[in-house]
Symmetry: C2
Subunit: 134 residues, 2 copies
């Protein structure tokens, strides 16, 4: 079912400092910051040859990553995103296997404009997993 690793998301307390670190110290290709008000985050993408790192910073009140940064003030790995061909079929299979989909249990349109769902970390080795239909 799962295909490519679309991205690894890292929540950071200082987006500019993190982007500078990846650009200047690690020598990677780093995008401009983009506010995603519908998702409560500002994102910066690190473009690697085979996948992406998504830097996440809270935007506005009730950001979904505010709690994570309160627990991890230095930042940390927040989730991994795997690509799937058919997110509806994936959701059915995962629910049948007993995995919990966060929210109302159905795919949503994610920060990249594509259908996504998030799986409960307790069902996946303590790892928050996003699936994105591509």
């Amino acid at each position: 079912m799962i295909g490519k690793l679309n991205h690894v998301a890292i929540a950071v307390p200082d987006l500019e400092a993190a982007a500078d670190l990846y650009r200047n110290t690690l020598g990677a290709t780093v995008s401009e910051a983009v506010d995603q008000p519908d998702h409560g985050v500002t994102t910066v993408f690190i473009e690697l040859p085979n996948t992406k790192i998504e830097l996440l910073h809270p935007l506005g009140e009730n950001s979904p990553i505010a709690g994570f940064l309160a627990k991890n003030p230095a930042g940390g790995m927040h989730h991994v995103c795997y690509e799937v061909d058919d997110i509806t079929a994936a959701a059915e299979k995962l629910k049948a296997d007993g995995l919990r989909i966060l929210g109302d249990g159905n795919p949503k349109i994610g920060a990249h404009g594509k259908p996504v769902l998030f799986l409960h970390p307790k069902d996946l080795c303590g790892t928050l997993v996003e699936l994105e239909e591509v």
Copy 2:
């Protein structure tokens, strides 16, 4: 400096259950478990089309991931590994920029038989980063 994402490592409390989950529920290609006594871990690789997920489980006493699992009993994302062409040059550049290399500050031979180093998570947005020369 950094090239491809070589792998994302996830520490898991039950290696067989985690491998089954990735193989049967997520439908991925999963390797057999390999003990790495010199590194204090048993590893399973999830082969994705563009990168790998490395499942880590403690092996023997003094495993370097025992403390992580004590703090995260359900498991969790442990590190990311980026590829570099020249690990000696990378180590010099990173030290000059003030980043701390774990251990004695020099690259070592890693679990995959290649020169690696680990950078202090506090210097990299709370993320433990491995660099591997390829």
